[in-house]
Subunit: 270 residues, 3 copies
């Protein structure tokens, strides 16, 4: 693990996904090719039927928020490659936050919600995969904002009533020592739930990753993350967003960083 | 750390443990040689006398379960070597679950319970070390089941009333977000207690370790484990077994896997 | 990460800090040079104004203890270098515990408390940096005890009423499974709060670090630490000291060690 980047990079030998985005039109994706590129996905098993009577808060928080955390997938420009990360729906109108370093200057990205009822990839349909357009990015603060456009299935209406979203927390209510959790797609471990605490809040924090350098107010957290967690939510026990998972100190478990809600809140105000 | 295997391998220069198992007879072990091979063990200090008034649940769960988590030790076939892992007693009759990759095709294994009162290895006696026979293994699902036979001390009766065991949880009651803990013997840190959450339940999960490949329903957990934790229990806050620690994503702290109780339950039904 | 040492070593190219300690006099430090050497410090943001209504215990424990955890800094003997670690104030009279391996045989060390209100290093003043004298060390048990002497500012009186300290826990009240937390300065992440549990208590534990070897009763903990955490406190939910963070198993997250309060208590009795 040489790089602190938290995206997951697919290098799939034989599969080619032509990515033909036109500046003002929706790109023409082939669902079969997307399905092939994602063939290693084992869709997470749902625990909704659980008859749990113990520690009810965390399982309930997971169930309430997991469907607001899609997989973000960008087919690569060279055949058989692609990049995946995590995202979080933050409005009922279909705005999805992620990291800039997941989508960079792509105009479009694919957004895949957890299928319910749980099913394997063999049963994934074009209506499970949405096309989204990049609304806005801040490369310095590592923030990207997507707008859901339509499912790959042309037969499905653009109905967003199914959407769950995670509201932003008031920055003044975020404090060191608070319990938080993350949901994301680290290392191909899709829809992984991990817990931790807020270890510190660091204004105007500076970090580098590969060729890129960043500066933003960050929430430092012990919550376990890994490559592919990028862009996913860090959530408090009220179910509100406190940050956007972005990076970690390489090789030092428990010292991870999320773009603080302090940076995110101004983006979504009317 | 190149391999995700979680057993501990002893490579002890000068100590030879002849392992002369006969297919149908108990093997003839020399206690002094076992003792020598394990000489690096610092027996864990017991906190039973603690006058704790804080966070009482976890310390009590540790005390209630630690004596159901023996060290599994297999003397090596070449002089001075051996393999150790963890195990968990699951019936009052002395059935002990562990991983297949700890015992493989050995017919016998040694089972060492935590000595009480706490003592150093210098005081370990042959009655602290039990001989167990392999009842059944599933190399595909990485499960092994042992039956306790007798202590190495010939003077001690085959009294199993001292045994503590950990009942299996109902698989329908296991859910993402639940608090869990492990006890095991990672890195020679015997009887280590670590906590975490259930991060996901993954049916028909496929993984590889060295030359071996596996497929089983697994419980993914953030609970800290390391080499030597293999075969030990993952336990929920009701004190019931939810999985058998098996492997981890190498170098990625917090993404660990246990064979789910869904796979274990059918083994123990009458 | 080759070494389990948890100090942080500064290797700063262009900055020279002459360290001219005289055996019986206070050393003459240049504040500007100290400030330059520490220029990478981003002073932690204080969450004191937080209107938290959730999980109140941990945020409150952080706020109650953070100001008893200074940064320990030793300017290097060769130009542009230095060593930093963590410390913990344990008496109202200004006694500060740290690891022997942070201060070794230095007669003096610099002690930097978290500035309040939060400010950047550009605003750090000589009154924020204290000079302390080494009272006593135990190289075998990796313990060092400092006495605060005076701020680098000559105009500030030697008023210690601002001091917060963390009382030592009764060793009989420390048990496996208890919730604990650490505050320290890992990897330049100053005043980081991390949580975990007590995984085991190991009497007369033996470990090595580089050329040094140690033996002491230790508290094993899952609490996340890293280089620079050395000498900081491990604290229980009563706000009392249960150990002094010292080392970790390299590359194995969650298996860390603190010098147990059992070793510390005798030092501070009258």
């Amino acid at each position: 693990m040489k790089s602190p980047w938290l995206i997951g990079v697919f290098l799939i030998g034989a599969v080619s996904i032509p990515f033909t985005a036109h500046p003002s039109d929706e790109p023409q994706y082939s669902f079969d090719q997307v399905k092939s590129a994602l063939a290693h996905i084992a869709i997470a098993h749902g625990p909704e039927a659980s008859k749990l009577t113990r520690s009810p808060l965390s399982p309930q928080l997971y169930r309430n928020t997991v469907d607001a955390v899609p997989l973000i997938f960008l087919p690569g420009q060279t055949p058989g490659t692609g990049v995946s990360g995590s995202g979080v729906v933050v409005t009922a109108s279909g705005q999805v936050l992620t990291n800039w370093h997941v989508i960079r200057d792509s105009e479009y990205a694919l957004v895949i919600f957890r299928p319910t009822p749980p099913k394997t990839l063999a049963d994934l349909t074009p209506s499970d995969v949405w096309v989204a357009r990049s609304l806005w990015t801040d490369a310095k603060k590592d923030i990207g904002l997507l707008q859901l456009l339509s499912p790959m299935s042309k037969t499905k209406s653009l109905d967003l009533t199914f959407l769950k979203f995670i509201p932003l927390e008031d920055p003044l209510r975020v404090g060191v020592g608070e319990d938080v959790f993350a949901i994301g797609h680290p290392q191909g471990m899709y829809w992984s739930y991990t817990e931790g605490v807020i270890s510190q809040i660091r204004p105007r924090f500076v970090w580098k990753a590969g060729e890129d350098s960043f500066q933003a107010t960050i929430v430092q957290t012990q919550t376990a993350i890994s490559h592919g967690s990028s862009g996913g939510p860090l959530i408090n026990k009220d179910g509100n967003l406190v940050g956007l998972i972005s990076t970690m100190i390489t090789g030092q478990a428990g010292f991870n960083f999320a773009i603080a809600v302090h940076e995110l809140q101004p983006l979504l105000l009317p």
